[in-house]
Amino acid sequence: MAKLIWLCLQFIMLYSTVEAVFEDQVGKFDWRQQYVGKVRFSHFDSHVQSSKKVLVATENNVFASLNTRTGELFWRHVDKTGPEGNIDALLQHGQDAVLVVGNGRLLRSWEINIGGLNWEVVLDSGSFQSACLVGQQDTVKHVAVLKKTVISLHYLSNGHQKWIENLPERQAVYSGGNGEVYALGVVPHSHIAIVAYSLEDGEIIKQISVEAPWLSKIQASCSVIDQGMLTCVDPATVSLYMLDLHLQSQMTQIPLQSLGLEVTPGFQPVLVSTQPNPARPPLSEFLLQLGPEHHLLLQLNNGHIVTLRDFKPAMLVSFATTGEKTVAAVMSPKNKTACSINLFSGETGRRLLDTTLIFNMDPNGGKPEKLYIQAFLKKDDSVGYRVMVQTEDHTLTFIQQPGRVMWTREEALSDVVTMEMVDLPLTGTQAELEGEFGKKADGLMSMVLKRLSSQLILLQAWIAHLWKLFYDARKPRSQVKNDVTIENLSRDEFNLQKMMVMVTASGKLFGIDSKTGSILWRHYLNNISSNPAFKLMVQRTTAHFPHPPQCTLLIKDKDTGLATLHVFNPIFGKTSHISPPALTQPILQSLMLPLMDQDYAKVLLLVDDQYKVSAFPSTKNVLQQLQEMASSIFFYLIDSSQGRLSGYRLRTDLSTELIWEVVVPTEVQRIVSVKGKRPNEHVHSQGRVMGDRSVLYKYLNPNLLAVVLESTDLHQERSFVGILLIDGVTGRIIHEAVQRKARGPVHVVHSENWVVYEYWSTKSRRNEFSVIELYEGMELYNSTVFSSLDRPHAPQVLQQSYIFPSSISTMEATLTEKGITSRHLLIGLPSGGILSLPKMFLDPRRPEIVTEQSREENLIPYAPELLIRTEWFINYNQTVSRVRGIYTAPSGLESTCLVVAYGLDIYQTRVYPSKQFDVLKDDYDYMLISSVLLALFFATMISKRLAEVKLLNRAWR
């Protein structure tokens, strides 16, 4: 055994590649962007006048602090995904931020300067309703948490519970700073029940029950204003109801008509009050929204409601307080592309002078959704403010007066669904040259002229380049900036810089430069349904100048099944002038064919629910090609709800016929995912060289599918995981592997002739990797043509399993231009690391007993454990939170593969699975080499001359 381990170590030392980055390479080829997600709660840190912090709690269960000057993160805490880490409430007091997490499961307090945890307490079970800070005599010392049937009071300093009381169902909690805590509840369509507790010991001071048959939800339509005036708005009777929590036991009805107000029909009015200091009662001013663009600032004055100001049109209104002053910020539309924001005094409703701020709406963005105001007192005691605008596309824009955008954060990027990398176009001059050959020939003379003109342009560009070099050389290095803009985008020498087209769940598309990570274009699709499925396809690459590259995004509404196509230019983000076909039938799948139309756009086939096929583009040329090719076009559909895998063949009239069907019993197992091979994958070597120098040929079936099955029974003794290798053309099951006592989630990578998958073994309670490799054998059946319909021999199947020490989030294989470079598996770990595991370790031919031949083959002896070596982490200390996907793309260099990991963060880097065999090292000494060469050259010249002289002299002697 010791010998085996020693041998194993030796092999690892000898044959594994080292991939660590040098210290000076940090950030040279890679970048990371950290996001927080769609903001749910936000508070500006206001306890210090010059504070630069804004706290945000997001729907992605992230709690973070942003720098208001730059928009960067001060700190960020990423909680569990799903409802367990859901942030229910964010309360801020001084230096502490109190969070209720996981439907009232946890109460946490954070120190907002450094983001440290002050304390955390586990609350009793029960669904969370509401929370508020409780103050008394101008100091805030407690926080009250109301759950469905229990109310508890905790100390702010240490989280200890002061008292806890059971009570019938309540929905809201309120404290006016007078030593009482009110729990408000409503019995729908019957009455409001109010209980007042003493702050000191939780004793019930009084209980009130008020008739309110019109009220159904208290949080949506009620708010407490002034000295404990519960105010509700009822859209049915179009009136306000008021109730003094201290005295009255009858609600007073104030019809809005008596105030001269009207509600937009069909609109649910909204009441917003403000309580700047939890130790004091709320202000008597409140906002009432009566229509989508109609807001009112009202005041309760001695029991009468006074209209202070009518804002119409006003899209968004928000309160902000600084010192003793409360202001209302109102955003109103200015013109089509801009909004103006103004401040109005909270007490009087007067407009404050010099507070206009212009917010330019991005034509490619969404509408403003929320306003967060940071108000501050200027030196002359007037109120200044900055504003953070949240738009529909989850973008945060921070604006300073008079409209200078300080920063924007594209939080939609925290939820990337799918992406593609597109080659950048050649420079304009190169493209000019290419275009010369692309166009149709028209006469000798014009061709000559064209050639001359393009050469002239090239010369001009070269001179301009030289001039720029000369000009830049005189400037200090720090000033020379190579800003990438959409105008100067061009492909670099080795095609290492590409355009990342990212599709996010919110329906916003981004074009990101892969070298720097700067967002070059964005486009918001504002008619996206709430539950969309996306599929992004590159129809035409940049290789077909002068035709622009073209991407097509298939957006399917999962609820209705209807789909739309968005056709755009991936380099500039502009919507293409090509009008996509209107799809009236629900679409099941799409299929990209390698056929091209006369404009070099690949043909996209869309399969509708009648199994009819429509082509896009559908020109005559395309239809003709389709008719010719129809008999060799196949597609498969997998319906996991019915457990049905079916294969279809295209007929010449674009209808389809079912040719095979496999049904998986859904009561036993369900289809989780299916993985085909990537269409742009190249395999250089058709076989593997054995120790005796014969060849074991790979079974490279391009139509092979790996279907993952999981058992519906999750009992640890009976659960299993299955992999079905099935030919997508014939439906023939090539191989079936079942892992008993195993459970998902299964991550699978399918490439070349192998399938690697990872699962949880319930028997041994560990994560396991399994690899299946397929070989044709020692002879090729047909080396020139691969047809699934003509494969009489079943492939040889080899399989091996390994233990992996960590669970994984996602997995992908590296991809290179020609497929010569060895493959690595890129594994996203939940810890935030991205591991580059050589495929060599996952090789079913790893022998248990080392022989001469296996050593000749460089096979590592089998060891069940796969180690995680720290230098395999390609992202060193740049943690990537919640990796959901890894995208790999080949570059122009065979050794280099571009990698993008996306999840909450986005990380881009390059990997070199076989080291950089085709690149000179960074520290290659050009000077030394060239000077040595030159010196040698001159030395030979001189010595030649000397030798000639000497020979001549000797001849004369």
Partner: protein, 186 residues
């Protein structure tokens, strides 16, 4: 391969082993040489043209013919004689691929090839021999054996493309006959 001929010594030499030009005698014209000084003790001064060395009998003899024959066989058997030596070197250098064994193999392969290239020159050498054709054949066989040995060495070192794996890189990816696509129902 020393040049045949040059059997004569001293001042008198016969040139061209075939005996086309023969000199009966030679004049020693240099005066005051060591010999004359050495011999100066004696009172007799040698006459002009006198040499102390006995003049060999250069008349055509039967033995000469034998010598030429022998010489020719030496030439013809040369390559064959090297084979044991080569075998020894082969054994010593082993089958690992590194710079020295490669150099040895190159030498071993190159020498017979060079010899075969200059076959005509060798034939000219053997012209005088009566068994010219046989000798030529032996020479050829010897060289061929030498190169065969080199090839065997290459083979045992694995330098010959005799296995299917050596041609693996030339197999292109097969052409795909069917177009397939699809996936889970979106």
């Amino acid at each position: 391969m020393t040049s045949p001929g040059g059997q004569g010594g001293g001042a008198l030499s016969t040139r061209g082993g075939s005996g086309a030009r023969r000199m009966k005698w030679a004049l020693e014209l240099s005066l005051g040489n060591t010999r004359s000084r050495g011999g100066g003790q004696g009172d007799v001064v040698h006459p002009i043209g006198y040499s102390e060395k006995p003049v060999p009998d250069t008349s055509i003899q039967e033995t000469d013919k034998n010598l030429v024959e022998k010489r020719c066989w030496d030439v013809a058997l040369g390559p064959l004689k090297q084979i044991p030596m080569n075998l020894f070197i082969m054994y010593m250098s082993g089958n690992t691929i590194s710079i020295f064994p490669i150099m040895m193999v190159c030498m071993m392969a190159w020498r017979p090839i060079q010899a075969l290239m200059s076959m005509s020159a060798t034939f000219k050498l053997l012209e005088s021999s009566s068994q010219q054709w046989l000798q030529g054949l032996v020479y050829l066989v010897g060289n061929l054996l030498g190169s065969a040995l080199a090839i065997y060495k290459c083979q045992s070192m694995g330098l010959l493309p005799t296995h299917s794996s050596d041609w693996l890189a030339f197999i292109g990816p097969p052409q795909r006959m069917e177009i397939m696509g699809g996936g889970m129902v979106l």
